[in-house]
Point group: C2
Chain length 124, copies 2
Amino acid sequence: MPPVTTGRADRVRVLPEPPGLPTPLPEPAVDALRLEAVMGALSDPLRLRIVRTLLLEREEFDHPCGWFALDRPKSSLTHHFRALRDAGVLRQRQYGLERRSEVRIADLEARFPGLVALVAAWTP
Amino acid sequence: MPPVTTGRADRVRVLPEPPGLPTPLPEPAVDALRLEAVMGALSDPLRLRIVRTLLLEREEFDHPCGWFALDRPKSSLTHHFRALRDAGVLRQRQYGLERRSEVRIADLEARFPGLVALVAAWTP
DNA sequence: TGCGCTGTACGAGAAAAGTCGAACCATGGT
DNA sequence: ACCATGGTTCGACTTTTCTCGTACAGCGCA
């Protein structure tokens, strides 16, 4: 299976599915996304790395926070994931006890075309 | 009698260069541009507005700082213009006593294609 | 019932960024 | 010579952000 290419928005998986994805945690609507907020969220190397990892290595859907090899305490990770979600970069769902994240590729592409590709091309 | 200024003060930099423009102030090289730094510089509404204005309303080359209608004290503007220059978003040249700025469009486009367009499309 | 797991909430200290006044400098005009 | 212009530097203050420890909560499982 090919690694994801970020230039295009493939299907939007936001539909309510009968087996049911958990409802996403509160997030800004597409037309409420603000460029300065997104930029601010992506102005941190750690968060940039989170998003990039999510873009390049998502095998299926989304990953729990511990998926990434981040050597920070959990409370720090919560902080950064929340910053990304507040800015509208990430969508998070509660799967039982773990919270998984995915990049809102379609939404970002709709409002800020090309931005996702920049993050995917980023090198630490 | 023409008021000949003393040649003791070697302000040679003020001379207009026939073929060229004044040398830009120190700035990061193209391949030293960092996405997180650029994002950080563009995560502020005021700076976003500066860059966007520069992109959309540049009539010729570049503009002095006071060109924009920013109701901030001068020291604040210096701060923000410097932040933009440090991140590599702006290039600044000293024209005699005034300092003019232009967006490093080509450089940004080379490293982060599409980013300039996002700023140009931004709405306050 | 208790343990291990994932992750949150709160709060405090540290670090970074923004804000702005005041002093200053060089230039050009009158 | 003086003043206005366009801008810098410095220092102080305020605000925001980062970092992380501690405490806690829900779920699954023996």
